[in-house]
Symmetry: C2
Subunit: 339 residues, 2 copies
């Protein structure tokens, strides 16, 4: 596959590309970004050492790709015009185009016609089933232990932390599953549901439905969405909390981030965020934050260690950066759930 | 119009019918319910004295209606089979059929074909615009004061309380507007948006868009949805709170209700509910509950007065049943917002 970041090659805006480089590296042959030819992909996106940045679909042909992934997940989720040109070229080449945007490529008459004409395919990861139920709190009756990542903000490392925790659990021999709830998680795991795309009345019910896949596991690690303090997405966050009814929450936070992503309010402190998440569960099904996972991207190891230690002290809980330092510090608290 | 309650003629399940009887009484000619012929409509639904309950569309013809309203709003929002027969008869008679269900009648091939054949019309109040934005907290910059009803449960009187508060405000000469956010409010006011039908990522943004209509008013009274303690709908509730960014909240509660509507958790106390609502606003835009509105349907006047007094004492705030005792006790706290 070729990952398109066109003009947005940083790990925050090209979150989907950066995550696929981390977790599906073997399948990536190039990054497509006409504004970033010659850049070091690993330095720019945190993974993908040695990959070439190509300026066009034509220039990527030498790697014989058959898939283009729209590597961004912008607020609101529309296809930027600069990316549209590349999508058209990819369809003309007969590739499959994967998108996690809110605006579905397969609903675009021009793109759908091109795909049909050239034997190409459009796959919109945010498409959700139409017949979803309302929530009934049935997760509370399931044996599988449920760990939900929550955050001080959106785009704070919830998906990566869930994946790393799941991997650490499986290394310990636990029957574990990562449960994807957003487009990037779906690309990585090959299943899931984009819960922020579901009609608001049905999000908790959709979460319950998604959980059925984890019914035969001991534990599952669920990708959280948004943040209770982010005014645009807080409703999605709470629906996931009350649909999945977690047994434990892991609090994610970007070290040093001063304000919310695309929302003018200041970030809560870690202690305030914990209080808010636990408070919102109290009358439904009490649940604790059992640890913190920091995203220390951009800091050196010493500064990252300092940030993690400060978080552990502020919360009096285990903390880590699951990517930089591994998920181990959080595992004892989670093991306790299995007893 | 004829209001259909088919088998569900009580004010809780036939919420839409009961509310239209209260606020659009002059336009109603009969109630359609083959299981309730001969019943006293006012006794069953709290309003509509003197209306006949007819068993069929044919039996309603003598009143020369041109409109059928699906008078229910069930959880999940599908058309019960027993109602479908009446809808078909109404379409064959060339009537307009209004529905607030999640399942759109106009997407039903048989119903759509019948409507076309007989010159009838289908109006789905829950249809929402497709191109909605994400929330940006722009409500915070608007001059109009915003009063949001919240509740200890769904179906607890938020819509009626908002309408009564708006009417009381207009009687005082305030430039006021009722802002409908659900299907019944839309039927009553003739505009609005069913925010529980909006894709979850866009609910706060949709709330902001809806608010534009109130931009030239001094104050507006916004119909809340769901409850923070109701696991199925809490996300919708929080999205409205963080989209509308209210200046004050009014807490609605059904006197004597022991548990949530279609959700197994116990109801919070009024004090706990206030705490939860204020807590959820604290990190976004602090806002207080300024009064309580009880729904005392089914109690006698003395018991209702006692319930209202107990609520006022528990919260140390003004309280009323806005329908039984009027909205006046809540107005001084709201007048303070206009200064």
């Amino acid at each position: 596959m070729v990952l398109m970041t066109e003009g947005l090659m940083d790990p925050w805006r090209a979150k989907t590309a950066a995550s696929l480089l981390r977790y599906r590296r073997d399948e990536v042959v190039a990054v497509l970004d006409s504004t970033a030819v010659g850049r070091d992909v690993a330095a720019a996106l945190g993974a993908g050492a040695g990959l070439e940045v190509v300026p066009s679909v034509a220039a990527a042909m030498k790697y014989r790709p058959d898939t283009l992934v729209v590597g961004i997940a912008p607020s609101g989720g529309r296809l930027p015009p600069a990316m549209r040109t590349h999508v058209i070229d990819a369809l003309r080449a007969g590739w499959t185009v994967y998108s996690g945007l809110h605006t579905f490529l397969c609903d675009d008459p021009q793109l759908a016609a091109l795909a049909a004409e050239h034997g190409a395919a459009l796959f919109d990861a945010r498409k959700v089933p139409v017949d979803l139920p309302c929530g009934t709190m049935r997760a509370a009756g399931m044996a599988v232990r449920r760990v939900l990542t929550v955050g001080t903000d959106c785009n704070s490392g919830k998906m990566c932390t869930s994946i790393e925790l799941d991997a650490a659990a499986r290394r310990r021999g636990w029957k574990s599953l990562f449960v994807p709830t957003g487009q990037t998680g779906i690309f990585i795991a090959g299943w899931g549901m984009a819960l922020d795309r579901v009609i608001s009345d049905f999000v908790a019910g959709a979460a319950e439905q998604l959980l059925a896949r984890a019914a035969d596991r001991q534990i599952c690690f669920i990708e959280g969405q948004g943040a209770l303090t982010h005014a645009a997405y807080s409703g999605v966050t709470l629906s996931l909390m009350h649909g999945f009814l977690p047994d434990a929450m892991v609090l994610c936070h970007v070290a040093g981030r001063p304000a919310h992503n695309s929302c003018p309010t200041p970030l809560p402190t870690l202690a305030d965020a914990r209080d808010l998440y636990e408070h919102a569960m109290r009358h439904v099904r009490p649940c604790k934050v059992v640890g913190a996972a920091l995203n220390t991207l951009g800091l050196d190891d010493a500064a990252a260690r300092k940030a993690v230690d400060a978080a552990a002290e502020e919360l009096d809980l285990p903390a880590t950066d699951a990517i930089r330092f591994g998920a181990d510090p959080l595992m004892p608290a989670l093991e306790a759930l299995l007893r």
